[in-house]
Symmetry: C2
Subunit: 160 residues, 2 copies
């Protein structure tokens, strides 16, 4: 079905998940998964972090990337509610994959070489939910982010 | 921080949410929000639906779009566990925004003209969580998908 004129320029911009400790999450999504921290928006009791892959291949400055935030897509928004990181009463967030709370499943990152990507995650001490060798589907893996959200790792390939 | 060689080609591919009734969800994401249904993957007890905006501006056939699925980004994956749509015992999925189950927050769609987009949603009978006129933030809205997941509507703009 062709897109109607009314929705022709709509874009799937971001997915928002809550995180307990932004230091750990930002380390995970930037150093381990290679995203840029594009923009940080502090509020009185929460802070929003917008992350995404550099689609400019290094051509844009940090300021240009931040200013382009609302004109791009494939962004991850992390919401940190201040205090959760040090609150002994805080039970952590639901990954969405157990009851009650089931609904959200995961985010997915595609990689050009999945064997190499998974070997690197192992070396970096990343927690796995499913290694390539586990279960029936030998071509995908699931790792866990610091809050326990599932991150699927999928090979980039030219055929479905 | 520049992307390391090891993560230089990683991409944020998709976000997966479970849906009760795929007919309603696909109608919502295609007819109301303007996404394409790129690929449908039936399994014995569940079916996966991959949706996303046509970035080829009509240049690609349905088959080319499906085959390009794993080389693109900004995809929404819907998982339908067969039977939920007609099971009177099925309680529905958590939106992620209430306890227990809190963690996932929302997905967001950017639009070139938010007043026009919201007026169209009203006309189509879409349920709102937050109209432009509600609350403090007058430039964004939240609508609800058929399972009650929050979908943020944000204007495309050139400055953060």
């Amino acid at each position: 079905m062709p897109r109607s004129a009314e929705t022709a320029k709509f874009a799937f911009h971001h997915t928002m998940i809550r995180v307990k400790d932004p230091k750990k999450s930002i380390d995970f999504y930037t150093n381990i998964l290679g995203m840029d921290l594009i923009h940080e928006a502090p509020n009185s009791d929460f802070t929003l972090y917008f992350l995404g892959y550099d689609k400019s291949e290094g051509q844009m400055s940090a300021e240009e990337k931040a200013n382009g935030l609302w004109m791009r897509d494939a962004v991850l928004e992390l919401t940190w509610n201040h205090g959760t990181e040090s609150d002994p009463e805080f039970k952590g967030y639901s990954s969405g994959n157990t009851d009650p709370g089931r609904g959200f499943g995961h985010i997915a990152i595609t990689v050009p070489d999945i064997e190499e990507a998974c070997a690197r995650f192992e070396k970096l001490g990343v927690q796995f939910k499913k290694r390539l060798t586990d279960g029936k589907m030998k071509t995908i893996a699931f790792i866990l982010d610091p809050d326990g959200y599932w991150v699927e790792i999928v090979p980039q390939r030219f055929k479905v």
